[in-house]
């Protein structure tokens, strides 16, 4: 390693031209990544993270321009390179891995062709290029690389595609590797594998890494140093451990508080939130950019832009009161009304629910023999990798797809018709949903007033004056204002759109609301506000939730019961605390272990090998045996275990006896982030 800095940004300013005006996105950004270092850049969407990555390789969109400062890669000024030199620099010294590997790979070329192409550009052809490509795939630990070379990108899973993208990025042995949200679209288990891979490769290669992510835990897991970006400015920088354990900027403090941590649950208090919004791009900022959202802000903060204070040991903070940052008062009071434990009869009782899709003659069992029950005011968390049947189960409850014959869904003791069309009006309004993506869930041609008014009319059976009154009430209950009624969904931010979607679900006083990953598209501060809102509405209206999420911290915060699904089967079902604290099913154990932790405590890790098998051709015996780290023998391959009650209300589908699981899993405690 040399003393040269792998990347050096000096006073970098970037602007996007929107409507004949240059709007500043990055403001005098100074950032240095030393050779061999992994640097994490975090911040909410819109703060300029990706713009940093694009500027480094000068790939800014057409309306973007570098308005000041300099960028040096390996000591070489990128700004002065001519087109050919820039092309060489991109080819030789810097590589990027993007969020969506499906878009980064060419869909009409075989993997082998795409990989050898890189070597051909470097002047290596024929068999030699083939061999090198194979070696690259081996390096990213793809099993059976020879057959992967022959495949097209769509024939690979998301995790495999991202490995191939990483292999391509590493092919020319770059000195700088830029990873822009490389694991955001992946399942937790796959994410863990890809992160492990990147960590291993770091040890083998000399490349410096710029790791961009909104996920603080992932960055904490991967990086030596971290910079927090806010409104295009670096507001805090330091070693990862210091920044996350001892933040010195109110923004970092607030961001960390938004995450449900250490097994926090809804009845133990609400999450903190960050009031207000990120300044829009190009906004004029006098004083501190965060002052409007900061409870510590004084007159000085509003008028005098804080410099980056040096706090020693390489720590920087752009706050006048960095020594007091951690005394930032909560924006949201933590206390919650005490909820008395309920003994009401179940509001939902599902028995032996099955759903089989016919797929080219092969029956595909999306949901198999699922039974759950849920009491009023409780939340059932559904967890599992994609393809585990979570969403299909939710759609069965809603009646959007009809289940197979046999099996039953009972709502407050009355049987629900399998099809939505044959359910009564009361039953329809009793089971509603908050979709994952509000852009798809809200009709973009309709105003918020129309969307909510229609829901109140159809679900609440209201008209005229009563409807208007109820509309105002509904809007207030999700903390929107009358002003939001006149606009179309696109004029609202993601968090506000999700509030509208929640209001719509609550229009007819539902008994059960399915929440299908309602916060996965949102920033952490907005996520916290939405989770608080859901928890508040629940305690006020005694509604039950079916909460689907791949973020186990979020699921744990909101859920009273957890069902762990794998290939459409419930592997474990029980009270949230029991499922999280264990002993748990080996699959649950692996899921929990895959979650990156913010505090960097390295519990012994369990990694699942390979991909989730196809539901059209599930493994014999226990469906999890192909990936199970605790497989005990042939019985796992031949006989499907029953869901057996381990403790009262806590059932596990495993051949390993409960006491044995307890003994095996004893030495460590696994906590989600």
């Amino acid at each position: 390693m040399t003393d040269k800095n792998a990347l050096e940004l000096k006073d970098l300013s970037v602007a996007y031209r929107v409507g004949r005006r240059n709007r500043a996105v990055l403001r005098n950004l100074n950032l240095t990544i030393k050779a061999g270092e992994a640097y994490g850049l975090v911040g909410e969407s819109g703060c300029g993270k990706s713009t940093v990555a694009l500027s480094v390789v000068r790939y800014l969109p057409r309306n973007g321009s570098i308005t000041g400062g300099s960028i040096a890669l390996d000591g070489e000024d990128v700004m002065t390179l001519d087109a050919e030199a820039l092309r060489r620099a991109r080819a030789d010294s810097v590589s990027m891995v993007y969020q969506d590997p499906g878009k980064a790979l060419n869909p009409s070329l075989r993997i082998g062709r795409q990989l050898t192409e890189i070597f051909e550009l470097a002047g290596i052809g024929g068999q030699q290029a083939q061999d090198k490509a194979l070696a690259m795939l081996n390096r990213v630990r793809i099993s059976d690389p020879a057959s992967v070379m022959q495949r097209y990108p769509h024939q690979l899973s998301g995790g495999m595609q991202q490995r191939v993208a990483i292999a391509m990025a590493l092919a020319n042995d770059p000195s700088m590797l830029i990873l822009d949200e490389p694991t955001t679209g992946l399942d937790a288990t796959v994410e863990a594998e890809v992160l492990d891979l990147i960590a291993q490769l770091r040890r083998e290669l000399s490349a410096s890494i710029l790791f961009i992510s909104h996920n603080l835990a992932v960055v904490s897991h991967m990086c030596d140093r971290v910079g927090v970006l806010y409104a295009g400015m670096l507001v805090e920088e330091g070693s990862t451990k210091d920044v996350f354990n001892d933040p010195r900027h109110p923004y970092t403090v607030a961001l960390l508080r938004c995450l449900p941590r250490g097994g926090q649950r809804k009845d133990q208090g609400r999450l903190d939130t960050i009031p207000g919004f990120l300044p829009g791009i190009g906004a004029t900022i006098t004083g501190c950019a965060f002052a409007d959202r900061c409870a510590l802000a004084t007159e000085r903060c509003r008028t005098e832009p804080p410099p980056l204070y040096e706090l020693g040991e390489g720590r920087l903070s752009r706050c006048h009161y960095h020594d007091k940052a951690q005394s930032l008062p909560r924006a949201t009071p933590a206390d919650v009304p005490a909820v008395a434990p309920k003994q009401a009869p179940p509001v939902l009782q599902v028995e032996g629910l099955n759903k089989t899709y016919g797929s080219h003659g092969h029956p595909l069992r999306a949901v198999k023999d699922v039974s759950v029950s849920l009491r009023p005011g409780e939340t059932l968390g559904l967890v599992g990798e994609s393809g585990s049947g979570k969403t299909t189960f939710a759609r069965l409850l809603l009646g959007l797809v009809a289940p197979d014959d046999g099996g039953s869904i009972e709502l407050e003791g009355k049987k629900l018709a399998p099809r939505l069309a044959s359910r009564s009006e009361d039953q329809v309004k009793a089971v509603q949903i908050v979709f994952q993506n509000p852009d798809s869930a809200l009709n973009r041609s309709h105003s918020i007033r129309h969307i909510l008014g229609r829901a109140l009319k159809r679900l609440g059976g209201l008209t005229g004056r009563t409807l208007d009154n109820r509309l105002e009430e509904l809007v207030r209950s999700v903390r929107l204002t009358d002003r939001h009624l006149a606009v179309k969904p696109r004029q609202l931010s993601g968090g506000l759109k999700q509030r509208v979607a929640i209001a719509r679900a609550f229009a007819g006083d539902p008994r059960i609301v399915v929440c299908d990953e309602p916060t996965s598209a949102l920033d952490v501060s907005v996520q916290a506000a939405i989770l608080n809102l859901l928890a508040d509405l629940q305690s006020r209206q005694d509604v039950s939730y079916i909460f689907i999420s791949h973020d186990l911290g979020v699921v744990r915060y909101l859920s009273d019961k957890i069902a762990v699904l794998y290939l459409g089967r419930i592997m474990e079902f029980g009270p949230s605390e029991a499922v999280f604290s264990g002993p748990h099913h080996p699959y649950t154990e692996a899921l929990l272990s895959a979650v990156p932790k913010l505090d960097r405590t390295e519990a012994s890790r369990i990694r699942l090998d390979g991909e989730i098998p196809s539901a059209a051709n599930p493994p014999s015996g226990c469906v999890f045996h192909t990936r199970c780290p605790r497989k005990i023998g042939t019985i796992c391959e031949t006989k499907e275990p029953e869901l057996t009650e381990a403790q009262l209300g806590h059932t596990i589908r495993c051949h390993i006896p409960y006491d044995e699981l307890a003994r095996l899993q004893k030495p460590k405690t696994v906590e989600p982030a």
Partner: protein, 296 residues
């Protein structure tokens, strides 16, 4: 509780950089800067003005024959010459757009309405409805429009209404197909599922929920079809099945004069032909512009 987190603060809608124009404003803005669109629009507006007011400024009565001055070549008196009955070709070309500019747009509107309704229906219900209707539409589209039109006109008799209905109905399947594919994508969005979860009827879902979101492709297809409709009307008139004499219609004029070309009387045909071409080109430029504005 967390009343502070968003409610009190201005919505992003208030910030100028997060909510620029409405989607339609965006499209209008893009159109106003599109040379293609503006050129096309200028041509089309020119012919519309001619159709509406041409009779007041043309130098001669387009229908008045003057046998003595028949077939005079272009001159200062008769800019485009005269035809075999001595009628002034320039005057006839200027007002000749009147019929085609009523018949073709009306046919296109009919095609759009019928095609949109049909497309929504088959796109929304899919399944057996789609299978049957789509095959029928495809079979229908395999036959050239002119042949269908000729058969229908022979059966129904010649009139402007017949031409409108025939062209309208033969273009409807093409629009239906465009609408269908847009609806297929749209119906998978969650707001359609949300409508089902309110027990909305199929008609409400199709026309109130989905239709407003598929307007852009419909508009594009409609402008493209208008170009073809003009061409179809001119063709039918040329063959004697469209607009009837004594209208100075372009297609009709070409049909009654093209026998003269052999005699060297090219001016009796050329200017009408150029007029048809310019109108079709104008409409196509507009269509290109609209397409560009929606797909940028």
């Amino acid at each position: 509780m967390s009343a502070t987190d968003t409610a009190k603060l201005p919505a992003p809608a208030a910030a100028p950089d997060t909510a620029p124009r409405s989607p339609w404003g965006e499209v209008l803005h893009s159109l106003s800067r599109s040379g293609t669109f503006l050129t096309g629009l200028a041509i089309v507006v020119f012919w519309i003005v001619c159709a509406l007011f041409g009779q007041y400024f043309v130098p001669y009565d387009p229908l008045a024959s003057d046998i003595i001055n028949a077939l005079t070549p272009p001159s200062a008196d008769h800019w485009f010459g005269t035809d075999q009955l001595g009628r002034d070709v320039f005057s006839r070309v200027i007002v000749g757009s009147r019929d085609i500019l009523t018949v073709a747009p009306l046919a296109t509107i009919l095609a759009t309405i019928a095609g949109t309704a049909l497309g929504l229906l088959i796109g929304y219900f899919r399944g057996i409805v789609d299978d049957i209707v789509s095959r029928v539409l495809e079979a229908f589209m395999a036959i050239p429009v002119v042949i269908i039109a000729l058969l229908a006109i022979v059966a129904l008799g010649t009139s402007k209404i017949t031409v409108i209905v025939v062209i309208g109905l033969s273009f409807a399947p093409i629009i239906a197909r465009t609408v269908r594919s847009a609806v297929l994508a749209e119906r998978e969005l969650d707001y359609v599922a949300a409508a089902k979860l309110r027990h909305e009827g199929a008609l409400h879902t199709m026309f109130v929920e989905i239709l407003p979101n598929v307007i852009p492709p419909i508009l594009v297809e409609t402008t493209v079809r208008l170009g073809y409709a003009i061409f179809a009307v001119a063709t039918l008139s040329f063959m004697g099945f469209g607009i009837q004499p004594p209208s100075p219609d372009w297609g009709l004029s070409i049909s009654s004069n093209y026998g003269m070309i052999g005699g060297g009387f090219w001016w009796t045909v050329l200017f009408d032909a150029l007029a048809i071409a310019s109108l079709v080109i104008g409409v196509n430029l507009v269509a290109d512009g609209v397409h560009g504005a929606f797909n940028d």
